[in-house]
Each structure stands twice: as structure tokens, then as C-alpha cells.
Amino acid sequence: MTGHDAFDRTLAGWLEAEALSPAPAAGLERVLHATRRRRPRPAWLAGPGSHWVGETPTASSSAGARSLPRSRLQLSAALILLIILALVGGTILVGARLLQPSPLPTGRLGHLAYVRDGGVYLADWDGGNPVWIGGSTSTGDGCDDAFLEGALWSPNGRYLAYRSNLGSGCTPRVFIHDAQGTAIASWAAGVGWNVAWAPDSTRVATWSAVGGIDIRGVDGVLQQQVNLPEGFCLCGDRDPFWAHDGTAILIQMARYDALPSQYWRLPVAGGSPRRLTDSDPAAPCCLAFTASGGRSAFQSDGSLLVTPADDLSVATLAIRAEFGRRMIWSPTGDRLAVTAIRDQVVDRDGNLVSATYHLQLLDTASGQLTTLKTGSEAINPLAFSPEGDRVLFSQDDATGTSSLWSVTTDGSDPRLLVAGADWGDWQWQPASS
């Protein structure tokens, strides 16, 4: 073997030949299955991204090195904004209805339903006396795990719903149980995460296995199919949910040729879809309604916005800061449980190296934030107690294992409820039961 060119040609040919054998066919399926059950990180966690590709490495290196100071700068700006907003919070409120809290929903704290190692359990509100009711009984291959991101319990506390692939060869299914944990219905559903409970607790909405949105009763019987308008994409795992009056499905979708996606209202009884957000170029996310349906909160372009439920373009409170995707309204609709994410440090590959997470209560009248729990690992608010005095939340530990906790709304009495649980929801038992 003589000469650099000859050697290089031989090496290139050998590499080409070495690469010939095909990749294992099951590998792609496994990856897609794994990714289907996780969401992409939101833009603020996604990192510096691909702008470095094609730039000089020196530039990209310095961009990476600037990540920390820039995040501090943004944090400082956010803090200043927060202070200003707190000072003038009373004056930025518009709409007299926002000053009048909704009537207190009646109910008492019932059972805790939670998901652990792919199994679904019913327990006392504080995690005591757990009973397995469905999903996987072991950490198998992941095909039979229960999984979800939304509420388990129906609003009236009489049913619970979750997704699982149990016994179906990795095909998603929805299961409905009664309040005692007995399975009463199950059906094959499309991809997704949440099972959206209608406000009257008689129906659920999920992506159908063949596209569109299925509306089924608690007995599993298909009642209606809602199709997306022609030319709109499903936008992956953006799950449908219900308008507060139960007359429409709300969904985040976009035309194939006009990203980003926006929230739309699809009337269940038929009629023209209506876009809920205005021409804001940024995709909104995380829309959450108060129990009475009068107000909404969502995030858009790095801000948390509170708006009337029927007009998302009129922000009555805006806080520019980084918050986690999940936001929970208090029963009276005057406070939001959110997670503020601060001190983010990302490496040059865009991976989040560290951050601090602050479970907070946002008083939407004053804009004041009260910190309930702080940690260096992810915190996710899950539910309020019916009395509004405790918050259920999950928190990861350093190994990435999630556990369920609760804390009072003044930040006292933090309690570990279930170690190792991925997700949970508190039942609101009607006061009459």
C-alpha cells in the first residue's frame, strides 16, 4: 500500500463496504415507540440549537460560553419585570369579573390515584393504603405501562381514566374505572397522552386510532367523531381538551404550510372552527381554564398570560419569565400553581446542565408569586385539593426518579406521599357523597 491517495481511496472503499450490512429493523420501531411517549422539550429548554452548524467553531464555542451570562441577564430582566409587575399589578388588571372570585366549588379530598412503574394505584389522599387497579405490574418492556399527563379523575370524582398498552402489543388503549377501581370500559385509541374529561364527567375525548378525535361515553361507546378541518395537521401529541361549557373541543393545530400552531375551538355539534388566539407569531402552549371556565392562562413567547376564557387575545396579566408547561388553577380560580425555572445553564449541545425549580403560587389579582418548594430537579404541579389549601406535585430526585409530594399553600408541611410515582391526581369527592 503506497501513497497517501491510494491509501485514502482504499480506506474510503473499505469504510463503504464495512457500512453495507443493514441496520436492525426493530431498532427504528423501538426508538419511535420511546419517543412517542415523550414530548420534545419546550423551546426554552431546547438549547442553542442548530444555528452553530455552518458557523465557525470559534463562534459557536463563544456562543456556548456565553450561555451562562446570557441566562443570568435574562433572569435579571425577568426579576426586574416581576418586581415592576408586582408593584403595578393592581393597575394592570382589567375586567371587573377578574376581581370577583368564582364561587367555591364544593367537594372534599378523596383518593389519590397515581402511576408508578407503569401501574395505576388507588390510595388514601396522602398515599396510604395503596391498591393496584391497572396498568403494568412490573417494569417490563414498557409496552404495558400506564402513562398519562393529564387528570386521572373525572371532575365529579366518580371515574378515572388512563392510557395503557396493557395486553395490546404496544397499541395504546384507554381504560375507564369507577371510583372503587373497577374497570368498566376500554378501547383502542390513537397516540396521545391525556384523556380529556368533559366538564359534565360523562364523556372523554382522545385522538382516534384512525385520525380525528373520538368522543366516547364512560361506557366506552363512541358517541361522536370530530374531524380536523382540511389542511390542518394533528401536530403530534398535542392532545384535545374540552371547552369549559362542554360544547366544543379545543385543540392546538396548524396548517401544514403555516406554522406555528394555534389554539382552535371545534364545535362538537358541528359548525365552523374558531381560532382562539390572534395573529401572535409564537405558538401558545399549556392553555388551562379555571373550574368555572371564566378565565384562562397560557404561555406564549416566554410570557405567562392570564386572559378571559372567551378571548385569549386580551391579556389581563402578563409575566415574562420561564415557567414549566403545567399550570393548575386553584378551585376558586384566583391562584395558579406554576413552576418557575431559573438559573438555567446549558452546555453547547443544548443540554440543560442545571437549573433551579420553584413551585409557586401566582395570585392572579396582584401578580404576586409565593414560593412553596424549591429544588434543583424538576417540579411539576399536579392538582389542588378541593379546599384549595394543598397542592399535589411531583418532584424528581438527582437520579431522575419522580415522587409525589404535597404542600400547603403557604409552603408549610411538605409531605412525601409516594416515592417513585410518575404521576398522580387527587379525587374531588362531591360534598354530598
Binding site: L20, R41, S261
Partner: protein, 185 residues
């Protein structure tokens, strides 16, 4: 077409991401296998890189650069895989198409292939990655450097050293073989 898929995937459309992953899967696996010299470890690296791609898809600001971004994730996944698994090296021999190696009789080609196989295995994963990105993917120096996360100058010098190391390994192998042949004769 790919641009549309990236835009849709960036917006959370898993089907679009699935199409991108299906299109890239073979290429990624072949590249990873060359760097890691193991099918199983390559599969792990590809899985890790595609998982990272989905989780970080919103970081893709220029959809036309998606491929380069994906390769960078793969190379880093390969490095991590190589560091993580200090397992016993198992030779995985693949039957190659003879004409893929260029001119020469079959015996010489087989010997050359074996020499390259052994020599390549002696290189570090970083050296293999440089050679794979340059000779297999055929990328320009600037883009190859970005994918590997190093400066262009570093890339050039690393490529030179990796080539030299491989040549030295192959030549040492040739000398050893010659001694063996002479002793047998």
C-alpha cells in the same frame, strides 16, 4: 420535503419526526457502527441520538441543517457510548462485496481488509470518527469540524494524525505478516 418535515416535527408532530427518523436511521446506524465497531453499541448510540433529537427538536433553528445537527448528536452519542461501555471487544466481521475495495486480486483485498479492520480497531473512537466523517460521509472540513465539535484546524490535524496512526498500524501489520510468512517458508 425534509424541510417541511423538520418544521412539523419542531412543532411537535411526531409523525413528521418518525418520517425523518426512518429516513436517517440506516445512515446513522452505519456511521455509528463504523465509529464504535459494534452493532449493538451502534444501535444504542443511534437510539440515544434520535431520542435526543426528538427531545431537542425545538433547538433546530435552521431546518436545512437538520442532517448536520443529527450527525453531531450521533457522534457525541458514540463518544458517550464508547466511554460508557468498557466491554470486551468482540470482532464483528462482515462479508464485503469484493469490488467495493477497488482493484486487486481477491486474496490481496481480503488481506488488506483484515489489516484495515485490525488497524481501525486500534484507533480511538475520536480518531475513527474523524476518518468516518471525512472518508465515509465525505463532508467538507468546515462542516465535519462542526459535527465533531472541534475547530477546523483541530479537525485537520486530528485527521492527519488518525490517518498516520492507521497507516502505521497497517504497515506494522504487514511487517508482522511478512515475518510470519518468512518463518513458515
Amino acid at each position: 420535503m425534509q424541510r417541511d418535515l423538520v418544521l412539523r416535527a419542531r412543532n411537535g408532530d411526531h409523525d413528521a419526526f418518525g418520517a425523518l427518523a426512518a429516513d436517517a436511521f440506516d445512515r446513522l446506524h452505519r456511521t455509528a457502527r463504523l465509529i464504535l465497531r459494534s452493532d449493538d453499541r451502534a444501535a444504542d448510540a443511534v437510539q440515544e441520538s434520535l431520542m435526543a433529537a426528538w427531545l431537542h427538536i425545538r433547538a433546530v433553528r435552521d431546518p436545512d441543517r437538520f442532517d448536520a445537527w443529527l450527525y453531531r448528536l450521533l457522534v457525541h452519542a458514540c463518544y458517550r457510548e464508547a466511554r460508557r461501555v468498557k466491554q470486551r471487544e468482540v470482532a464483528e466481521l462482515h462479508m464485503n462485496a469484493p469490488d467495493a475495495l477497488g482493484d486487486g486480486d481477491a486474496q490481496d483485498l481480503t488481506a488488506m481488509r483484515d489489516q484495515l479492520q485490525r488497524g481501525f480497531r486500534r484507533l480511538t473512537p475520536e480518531q475513527r470518527a474523524v476518518l468516518v466523517v471525512h472518508h465515509y460521509l465525505g463532508l467538507p472540513d468546515a462542516e465535519a469540524a462542526v459535527i465533531l465539535g472541534i475547530a477546523v484546524g483541530t479537525f485537520k490535524s486530528r485527521l492527519h494524525r488518525a490517518s498516520a496512526a492507521l497507516r502505521a498500524a497497517v504497515e506494522a501489520d504487514e511487517r508482522t505478516s511478512a515475518v510470519v510468512r518468512e518463518s513458515i517458508a
